[in-house]
Symmetry: C2
Subunit: 340 residues, 2 copies
């Protein structure tokens, strides 16, 4: 344990010797320290940043859990491929490469359109009736995630933002969050893409029914994932575990991505230390997840879009943290007097 | 009044037709709307972004109001010119041009070093004994600010972040904030560059003394500015008024810059609508100023450095707001179904 704690002390000393009052860059200083620790260096650098957006459909969505019809999943994937969605614009703006994966969308896409084919099935089964996926499907989706990370890593990527698309997936995330944090279900259920109060009440009632239907209930993360997950969530969880194994920086987006992280962290707690939390979204339950993970998000902009948009918006702050650590002068070098 | 409200409605419709749930980009949507209204267009664009850092010394600083010696003002200006300070790194990172102005530093700088010469005097007089500056000095500093904006505008700049440097200037900002908001002085006084509790108590006692010494007290913004201001604060106030007259986007940084804005808004209330608030700093009194201005800052990162660092860190969010408004597909164009 002496090596990492020495590095932490050296990083802190480097930060404290920059020409600014102690701690004056606030959360950016903690971020610089964390990036150094993830990369085990005094000079962390971000290379070939990427956003991985995983898309999947949910059998339970047909019960009317969302304000939007299920077709919006594949339509939005087409929108990603055409470059017109928010994540396209914001990833481009942030200088991040966007990779969109079909983890299990209920649609046949044209080949050769840039989509990463990771399709496990045409959507999950409905967890209102049984398990959303078989254990084989779950493991296949997680392997797809690991493969996507291997490809990114081979491409020199050392920082990866996670995003998702899937009509009905806030419901899946709510169930996972309830099962893995122990928080009351009602606190984990929100408006998703824009339900009104009656819609939220209906969603909550359906999800309570889904919990009741799970007679052999377990709080094992893999069991929870198979019962309530989406393929996109399973793929994200697999990707997160693989990314942390490679000491990549994991840039965590909103409610659904954080639900995948709850699974990943339960499987391998070391994933947590590689995570930078991009933002706290407006979706009920996200703040609860962040508290559970003892996470301090970078942004609070009232976002509730998903797609990895918060990750893309926060990325410039990671670059700024590396830049001040690398480029700012020390008091000695600049000939500036220290505190009296 | 019908033209601007029509534009607001058109901007809102444009935002609402983007392929995302209504309001899902949170504060970024309000920002896009504001940028469109400032520029009076459905397609706001940010051009030649600049940070103007104004530096000045404070006569009262010699009484021991700061944790740092007064020489740090000119030393930090040298650090700006050498490119080693936080604002150099963060402005570069954000793609913003940095202009550093000597509004009244107690030092002779070499000529031809890139510094904008706006020196009114070698620091203000101490407001513990009388007015910090004469009305002529105040007006000269404000004119210097207007001139700096004229130069930026002539250079095609339409978005300007404000920053400052001046040992002792949180004290000046505290007095101005107290006088112009009516908030109790104690709520306007904070740790500055890092005072301990005893230091804050001493600072508060000195500032109470400064208020008592002002026998012909006024709440006129120009009077307050002359009595307690710094030359950098007066220059900033002048710059803000001039920038708003040109419908530039004003990117407001921390406590001292916001004190200058309180002056500017009192002189011309229309300045307020051109202001984007970069962040809420950790300096006591900044949150109070923001509430007074009914401002919602973009970032809450616990910054307390000044120099315009918060403005530089927030700038990518302004770019993102313009980008989503300009580049995202509409529901119709993308063939995505609307909410059911």
């Amino acid at each position: 344990m002496s090596v990492p704690s020495t590095l932490a002390a050296e990083l802190q000393a480097k930060i404290d010797n920059k020409t600014k009052p102690l701690g004056a860059l606030g959360q950016l200083e903690a971020l610089a320290l964390q990036l150094g620790l993830i990369q085990q260096t005094l000079r962390p650098q971000l290379k070939n940043p990427r956003i991985l957006v995983c898309a999947g459909d949910h059998g339970a969505a047909k019960a009317g859990l969302s304000a939007y019809p299920q077709d919006v999943t594949w339509q939005m994937v087409q929108n990603f491929l055409a470059g017109g969605a928010a994540i396209n614009v914001l990833a481009r703006q942030a200088g991040m490469q966007l990779v969109v994966a079909d983890a299990g969308v209920n649609h046949d896409f044209d080949v050769c359109n840039g989509l990463l084919d990771a399709k496990v099935a045409y959507g999950t089964a409905s967890y209102l009736d049984g398990a959303a996926m078989t254990t084989e499907q779950r493991d296949a989706a997680m392997r797809h995630g690991a493969n996507a990370i291997e490809a990114a890593h081979a491409n020199g990527c050392n920082v990866i933002g996670f995003g998702e698309m899937g009509i009905g997936n806030t419901s899946s995330a709510s169930l996972i969050t309830h099962c893995l944090t122990g928080a009351p279900l009602a606190q984990c259920v929100g408006r998703g893409t824009g339900l009104d109060d009656a819609g939220v009440a209906r969603k909550l009632a359906l999800l309570e029914q889904a919990l009741t239907a799970w007679t052999k209930r377990s709080d094992d993360a893999l069991d929870v994932l198979a019962r309530f997950g989406g393929f996109e969530i399973a793929m994200l969880a697999g990707a997160m575990i693989a990314a942390a194994e490679r000491r990549m920086v994991l840039l965590i987006d909103g409610f659904i991505v954080t639900a995948a992280l709850l699974v990943a962290v339960r499987i391998n707690p070391a994933v947590r230390e590689c995570c930078v939390f991009a933002h706290c979204s407006d979706e009920a339950g996200h703040a609860l997840q962040l508290r559970h993970l003892e996470a301090q998000p970078l942004l609070q902009l009232g976002l509730r879009l998903g797609e990895g948009t918060g990750a893309a918006l926060a990325y410039p702050l990671l670059k700024a943290a590396c830049a001040f650590l690398d480029e700012m002068a020390s008091f000695d070098a600049a000939g500036v007097s220290q505190k009296g």
